[in-house]
């Protein structure tokens, strides 16, 4: 019980502090970067891929109910689309900005 409370409070602390950090991280962003920033942050929110990986494995190890296994599998695919697609699209947008900067200089 004590262990659970400690780890729960640890998690909540992490959650709250990171939210404060997130608020401070983004201050003034030129509108040029709004979409790439949104898209890059969006790719990072694909971090649930970690959850999908863990659950896929757990579901297999415990030969759990097939529905859970398939849901975890779909989650894995969707999260990877989010991650790879998100970073690739951001990269494309930023390359254009970078290309133009070189062209203009």
């Amino acid at each position: 019980m004590i262990v659970e409370i400690t780890s729960l409070i640890g998690s909540i602390t992490l959650f709250v502090l990171t939210i404060f950090l997130g608020f401070e991280l983004i201050t003034k962003v030129p509108s040029l970067l709004h979409t790439p920033l949104m898209s890059g942050a969006n790719a990072i929110s694909g971090i649930s891929v970690v959850g999908a990986l863990i659950l896929s494995n757990v579901a297999f190890n415990s030969d759990g109910n097939p529905l859970s296994v398939w849901l975890a599998f779909i989650a894995l695919i969707l999260a990877m689309i989010n991650v790879i697609g998100g970073f690739a699209v951001t990269n494309r947008m930023l390359n254009m900005i970078a290309g133009r900067r070189k062209g203009g200089a």
């Binding site: 997130g22 991280l25 949104m38 942050a41 649930s48 990877m80 699209v89 133009r100």
Partner: protein, 480 residues
């Protein structure tokens, strides 16, 4: 044999990379590096997870897990590489929905698995001590709520950005619909989901509650997005992006994983700040965006008329112009006219040594920065793209202002206190010596407000597709 708990240190580095990545993404010079940091962080998180699984229990379904990783990567990569620049906003919305869905599916999978195992094994099934039970069940509920809402809302947002959907060969316009009585219903639905989360924790073995949360949350996402249109869409997509982060953070609570909590709440918080920045650019508050329907349904019918000009007339007016400001809008994106616009600027510079600048409204197009990306594609130099606040004082000295497919962002009606556009900052195009509108018709913009600028004496209307009209204009300039 290393203790598996040490492997978690990988998540620490991964989290640090995410923080640095987001920080760097906010500055033009460091943005590409920021994106790379994000990628490295994600790669490290995935590798750490795989190593940890292998050391702890051994990975059983390698084909399955590897297959999922590869299929997802391929689909995502192909979608990202093949998308047209104009389709970028829709794709970001869709990816965002997938991220939310992934978190929600992890939550659902975990809930069903735990219910399946039951109370016989408190570690992997329904926890026996009440604290753990409540924490896990509330986290499952909130992750489902936010995740499914993000999915349904993002998919609707994607179709709204597209403008419609083809069903059986018929084009159906995405509706914008939001009577005021819908607002209390949204609030009631939200509380209904909270009640369901409570009930699901009281009676943890019952899957009905879990499925009901899925259904109501999806409905809520649709109801939140459906009244929103026009210039508010980017704000909503940004808000949904923030929500998908929050969903990931809640998922972190379910499986007790710190990197999910950190990355998720980072995206949630920074996404919210970005949403506020976007709201500020439009002089609207987030509450207005969410609860006051913007345009769409109340379109005014156009009663006034204006004679159209032709390219030759505009070319004659442009002859010898010293300062030209081009104001691009969504119309330029739709017709892919950016190359012709650039060609026009080059022609003018070569022929009359005209100084051409581009005025970028913060919400021009369907995404902030949409115009910047398109013009970058056409190799327009960075220094020529001027943000609104900087360029507005220059309009009185401008010989000709060419508006390519923009409407609401130049509508003087925004200076009055009434109507849906009231208070939105606009480009002071009306102060230019002459104005050229390249537009399909006199129809109203997304906000549904007629534009007085069309009917001014100094305004010339070029009715037609942006690309075609720019091509004609370039030909006419060459003949001068």
């Amino acid at each position: 044999m290393i203790d598996a708990a040490y492997i978690d240190i990988g998540y620490l580095f991964s989290a640090a990379l995410f923080i640095l990545g987001l920080k760097k993404l906010g500055h033009p010079r460091t943005a590409p590096k920021g994106n790379q940091f994000g990628m490295m962080g994600m790669g490290l998180a995935i590798i750490t997870t795989l190593v940890k699984l292998e050391v702890e229990t051994g990975i059983i379904g390698w084909e399955f897990i590897g297959g999922g990783l590869i299929i997802g990567s391929l689909i995502g990569y192909i979608m990202a590489v093949r998308v047209q620049m104009t389709g970028m906003p829709e794709l970001v919305a869709l990816f965002n929905g997938f991220g939310g869905a992934a978190s929600a599916l992890v939550a659902l999978s975990e809930a069903l698995e735990r219910i399946n195992v039951g109370s016989s094994d408190p570690a992997t099934g329904i926890p026996s001590d009440p604290l753990t039970l409540w924490v896990i069940w509330i986290a499952i509920g909130l992750s489902s709520l936010v995740g499914w809402m993000t999915l349904s809302g993002s998919i609707l947002a994607m179709y709204k950005l597209k403008g419609g959907v083809t069903i059986f060969g018929k084009w159906i316009r995405t509706p914008t619909w939001g009577p005021t009585w819908l607002n209390p219903i949204k609030v009631i639905l939200l509380f209904a989901v909270f009640a369901l989360i409570y009930l699901s924790a009281i009676e943890p073995g019952n899957t009905d509650y879990v499925w009901a949360i899925v259904g109501l949350s999806s409905l809520l996402g649709i109801l939140i997005v459906i009244p929103i249109g026009g210039a508010d869409m980017p704000v909503v997509v940004s808000l949904l992006n923030s929500l998908s982060g929050i969903a990931a953070a809640f998922t972190g609570f379910i499986i007790g994983n710190s990197v999910l909590i950190i990355a998720g709440s980072l995206v949630g918080a920074s996404g919210l700040i970005l949403t506020f920045i976007m709201c500020k650019a439009m002089n609207r508050t987030l509450l207005d965006v969410l609860f006051k329907s913007f345009g769409g349904s109340t379109k005014e019918t156009v009663t006034r008329t204006k004679m159209g000009s032709d390219a030759d007339e505009v070319a004659m007016m442009a002859d010898g112009a010293q300062n030209i400001i081009i104001v691009p809008g969504y119309g330029m994106a739709v017709s892919q006219a950016q190359h012709q616009v650039k060609a026009f600027a080059d022609l003018m510079a070569a022929k009359f040594e005209t100084e051409v600048k581009y005025a970028i409204h913060p919400v021009a197009g369907r995404m902030p920065g949409h115009m910047n990306v398109l013009l970058a594609e056409a190799n327009v130099p960075y220094e020529q793209l001027i943000e609104m606040d900087e360029i507005n004082p220059e309009f009185p000295d401008c010989d000709m202002c060419i508006i390519v497919g923009a409407n609401d962002t130049v509508n003087p009606a925004a200076r009055s206190d009434e109507g849906p556009l009231a208070g939105m900052p606009i480009m002071d195009c009306d102060k230019a010596r002459s104005i050229v509108f390249i537009k399909r018709s006199l129809s109203v913009g997304y906000a549904g407000v007629d534009n007085d600028l069309f009917y001014e004496d100094k305004t010339m209307m070029l009715f037609g597709d942006g690309k075609e009209m720019m091509t004609q204009l370039n030909a006419a300039i060459k003949e001068l």
